[in-house]
């Protein structure tokens, strides 16, 4: 008997490596040997594959079947190799065409009845197959629409191992089975949160629009009931639609995390709000065998909202410093490093003190000064340093409610239009540079020949810098914000008023 050979994909983070599956049948007592660093779920494939083959009416020979997964040193995990293993063994047994399986990449988990179950991470796996130059990929029917999102590769969806064998030239008569599908996704509730539900707090709404326009990280400080959470939840609605690459990345992460993807790429930015008891592994990703993406990776190209930020443990928050800096989340394990995209927009909300009332106009704080100090001290300096907007939100007064009842309020649609216009103005200005958003522009450009502002405009912050009121880094952040404010205003360069507005957006903690 010959060797059966086919291919599958092993995912590490979003990167997929092609794995060659070889099957050999030797004249020995019946056994199924699987070699090449399988994890437990993959090691159990040998029992699934033999039962599935028998129960779908194409039993494997009663001989010793040896399956080798190469490269042998690459750790492999999960049940997605089942289909490839079964077909390689059938190829070795001469039951199907070995040339045919050699050309196709196979993904899918087998049930004991021989039907194929959908697997997680099909989108990044099929993408990797297309990049590796495969022309055809065979997937379970339940993953067909997700696999079909990848351009430039032919997707063959099969419901059972028998169907797969017939496609590869096996002499079996078709036996239609009920395909196994994923539980229908709970209808994705379109973000129905509109900005015009926010009453009063026009300044805070404007701060939110600035954050959206420049992709600035934001920190909202204020007493309970001031509307911090309400504001943050409306930020994704202000962001423009994702471009093709970003939406593919967002959908890939969803697929890897086991979330429903459906038949179309999601073009809206994701929103993640982990609870404050989250661990570092839950936030940035982790896991001992398979490395899974955390909330920060799922929020890539969207918004990561940390409500009650000081309640998070300090080490968890500081785990965000690396992705904030580099836009990539790297998770190191003894045998591998997984990289996930981490270009999210961070929004944090916090009370000013444990009782929450410090600084509120209508009630008084009962905290001792030391606990107040310690409360916000939990947010480390290096983390706050990376956050451009630090805004203090006040409770809405009854006068404010009455005043805003008739006043026109900004709607999400109108705000998004302004954001899109401001972003395209920034992109047009920054054309020819590696950046396209104001928050990514380094200080050297802001103070260099292209971005330098006249001394008269920057006089206020120059003076503050001289007096030691702000640091050089704070100076750059104010300049960045000022550019975004100017872009929203439609003016070509920031004026002194824009600098003043930028200063106002950063005064939460100092006041």
């Amino acid at each position: 008997m010959s060797i059966g050979r086919t291919y599958s994909i092993s995912l590490l983070g979003l990167q997929g490596a092609v794995v060659e599956i070889e099957a050999d049948i030797s004249s020995n007592l019946p056994a199924f040997v699987l070699i090449g660093l399988p994890d437990t779920a993959l090691g159990e494939a040998k029992d699934r594959v033999r039962s599935a083959a028998t129960n779908s009416g194409c039993a494997l020979p009663n001989r010793k079947i040896t399956i080798n997964l190469s490269p042998a040193a690459l750790p492999k995990h999960g049940s997605g190799f089942d289909l490839g293993i079964a077909l390689a063994a059938m190829g070795a047994a001469g039951m199907i065409n070995t040339v045919s399986i050699d050309r196709v990449l196979h993904l899918g988990e087998l049930g004991l009845d021989g039907r194929l179950r959908p697997i997680n991470g099909i989108l990044p796996a099929v993408l990797a197959a297309a990049r590796a130059g495969f022309e055809t990929v065979m997937v379970p029917t339940g993953n067909a629409d997700e696999a079909g999102l990848v351009p430039g590769i032919r997707v063959v969806a099969v419901a059972s191992l028998r169907d797969a064998a017939i496609w590869h030239g096996g002499a079996f008569s078709p036996e239609p089975v009920e395909p196994l599908l994923r539980a229908a996704p709970a209808s994705l509730s379109e973000h129905s949160l509109d900005l015009d539900e926010v009453i009063g707090n026009a300044d805070a709404v404007e701060a939110l629009i600035v954050a959206a326009a420049g992709a600035h990280h934001a920190f909202f400080l204020g007493p309970p009931g001031a509307g911090k959470t309400m504001l943050a939840a409306r930020l994704p609605g202000l962001l423009p639609d994702l471009d093709a690459d970003a939406s593919l990345e967002v959908s890939s992460i969803r697929s890897l995390a086991g979330l429903p993807v459906g038949g179309s790429l999601s073009t809206r930015p994701p929103f993640e709000n982990p609870h404050h008891t989250a661990t570092a592994a839950a936030l940035v990703g982790g896991g001992s065998g398979q490395i899974r993406p955390g909330a920060a990776a799922r929020a890539s190209h969207g918004v990561l909202f940390l409500d009650e930020a000081p309640e998070f443990s300090a080490s968890v928050l500081d785990a965000l410093r690396q992705p904030l800096e580099s836009g990539v989340i790297s998770i190191h394990r003894a045998n591998a490093v997984a990289h996930f995209p981490g270009r999210f927009q961070l929004v944090m909300a916090a009370n000013p003190c444990p009782c929450g009332q410090y600084g509120a106009r209508d009630s008084s704080c009962t905290c001792v000064p030391n606990s107040r100090r310690r409360y916000l001290g939990r947010l480390s300096g290096p983390l706050l340093d990376r956050i451009d907007i630090q805004f203090r939100v006040q409770r809405v007064t009854s006068a404010g409610v009455r005043a805003s009842a008739d006043a026109p309020r900004t709607t999400t649609a109108a705000a998004r239009e302004r954001v899109v216009a401001a972003r395209s103005a920034a992109a047009a200005r920054l054309v020819g540079t590696p950046w396209s958003l104001n928050s990514h522009v380094p200080g050297s450009w802001l103070r260099g020949p292209d971005g330098r502002l006249p001394a008269a405009v920057t006089a206020a912050i120059d003076r503050a810098l001289e007096r030691g009121g702000i640091t050089m880094r704070g100076y750059d952040r104010i300049l960045r914000l000022a550019w975004t404010v100017a872009d929203l205003d439609g003016s070509a360069r920031p004026t002194a008023a824009h600098i003043g507005h930028a200063l106002y957006l950063r005064r939460a903690i100092s006041s």
Partner: protein
């Protein structure tokens, strides 16, 4: 005597006939010692062959070869050593084979022979 023992004996007879037809010399059948029993001892071109025979009347409870477990093979290996000790001669090459006999109550028996299984 139980039917299963009859079946086993019939299977061993079929296996012995099969080995003879294949040009091997059957030296001993059902050799017993305190550790157990060897179904067939045969000689094949200078090699001593110890054969485990497993017989079933149908595949309803699985293939006979599936019933030859690692523990059974390990015992056969010990038995082979015991046989060599009991029959001092120059046994410089030995091997262990397995034979599956599927012998339905009515009809032709089917024999599968696996060489050097251990």
């Amino acid at each position: 005597m139980a039917t299963k023992d009859d079946l086993g004996r019939r299977g061993e007879a079929i296996a012995a006939a099969f080995l003879t037809a294949a040009g091997m010399t059957v030296i001993e059948r059902n050799w017993r010692c305190p550790q157990g029993e060897i179904d067939i001892v045969a000689a094949d071109a200078g090699e001593m062959v110890f054969v485990e025979v497993k017989t079933r009347s149908s595949l309803a409870f699985g293939h006979p070869l599936e019933a030859i477990t690692a523990a059974k093979l390990a015992r056969l290996r010990r038995l082979a050593a015991a046989w060599c000790e009991a029959h001092p001669a120059n046994h410089d090459q030995i091997r262990i084979d397995a034979i599956a006999v599927i012998s339905p109550a009515h009809g032709e028996a089917e024999v599968e022979h696996l060489v050097r299984v251990y």
